[in-house]
């Protein structure tokens, strides 16, 4: 879900860490009212598989759960946001390192 088109950098396979980040980003999008089905559609992940990810994120304190209209809803915690900040910063560096020095030249025509 978080891999976009890029002719020079084809989408890479999603690792488990990417999936955790995806779930956190989708939960964050709903500002404390993220239902499991909505997160499932947003993250592109079936609900049964998603539940395992959500349970793990809850156990690690990266997500918190509450009830809204008798149904569980999820929200990201400050610790979850910290994970996302670190994850994206690291992804930025990794992408630059994987491109190689030639691609770093400014104004290079693609």
């Amino acid at each position: 879900m978080l891999n976009g088109r890029d002719e020079a950098n084809p989408p890479r396979r999603r690792e488990v860490t990417d999936l955790y980040a995806t779930v956190l980003e989708v939960v964050k999008h709903y500002h404390g009212a993220a239902r499991i089905t909505r997160v499932s559609y947003g993250a592109g992940m079936p609900v049964d598989r998603l539940r395992n990810f959500v349970d793990r994120l809850l156990a690690l304190g990266l997500l918190t759960s509450d009830e809204l209209d008798g149904r569980p809803v999820y929200d990201i915690t400050p610790r979850g946001q910290e994970f996302l900040d670190t994850y994206w910063k690291m992804r930025g560096y990794v992408e630059v390192l994987e491109r190689g020095p030639r691609d770093e030249r400014p104004n290079r025509r693609r």
Partner: protein, 405 residues
Amino acid sequence: MTETRVPRGSTVRLGAVDGDLRADGHVRIEVDGRLAVSGNARFEGDAEIEGDLECRSLDADDGTVRVKGSLRASDVVHARDAAIEVGGEFRAHRADIDRRLRVTGPATADEFEVGGVLDGGNTLTARRVSVGGKLRLVGKLTAEGVEAGGSVDIADVEIDSLEAGGLIRLNGGTVRRSIEVGGRFVADAPLAFGSLEAGGLAELKGDGKGGAIDVGGVFTARGNLTFTSLKVGGMGSIGGSGEGESVEVGGKFDVHGGLRLTRALDVGGFVSIREELRADRLELGGALSARRAVFSSDADVGGRVQTVEGLKAERLVLRRKARASGPLVGGSVELEDKARAEDVYGTSVDLGEKAEARRVFAARVRIRADARVDEVTFTETAEIDPAAHLRSPPRRVEALPVFPL
């Protein structure tokens, strides 16, 4: 109000429906010109409409509704655990879709709220667009606010604000207020923006013109860049020239043209400016190289500075053990203990203990113990510690040579 029912698994032919339409799962509706429903059209499961559909509102539940023509609803299109696919134009007051909305033609609504994927093959016009997962659009996006939990992949934009959790990739256009992206931001063509905040990596492939830029990791502008403030946590580069108020970089920063700032350049790591650097002041923890660097007030160099034509500031300090190659020009110039420079020009020049310079030209000169200088030329005073090492005696002249820069 009357209700027209389409039984499960059936194929029917309809034109105008007075009242509501209710279709069970796996239905196919052939259309005389267009299917016009004066009330609500409700689909329980999969449905195919073989032409245009017009209705007051549409509800879909647990399935995919495929409209081969255009879909126009004066009120809400709501899909609960369902997807909507439209072959032509989409027009509604509001779209609230749990799974996926795919539109081949232009899409217009006051609000699009999609849980999974919004996939547009043409333009999209709305006041607000909110997508839980992925937003893809081939044509121009015109809106006030656009938000996505996962990624945004769009062509030209004309919007107020854009926010995505993971990735934003767009062609170019205008984002009048803010762009916020958790992860990676890429603009393939010139972009104007109010502010840009990216958690990981931001890349402008065309020229950029905007306000505050704040990137957590890596920032690349391949063309020219105009900004107010630029703050990069890790690495930054500008392929053309940069112009703005201030730059703050934690790591490495390269500019292949010139850089002109009305306020400060603050770099913790390494800066390289291929052409001229002009700013109000410099705070340098690491290393700076430029063809020439001119600061209208202070330059504070903690590491190493290298210029071809020189570095000029009203007040210039080389901190302890700092190094400068290329002329230094003040104002007042201070080399702290063990700092090392080549030629130094100033109104006043002060060399700390064990500092080294090649030639010093100043009105007032002070050389402390164990400092080393090849030549000292002054017009007013020269205070030389007896323990300083001068290769030739200080020379008093009527007028100093013209300073560089």
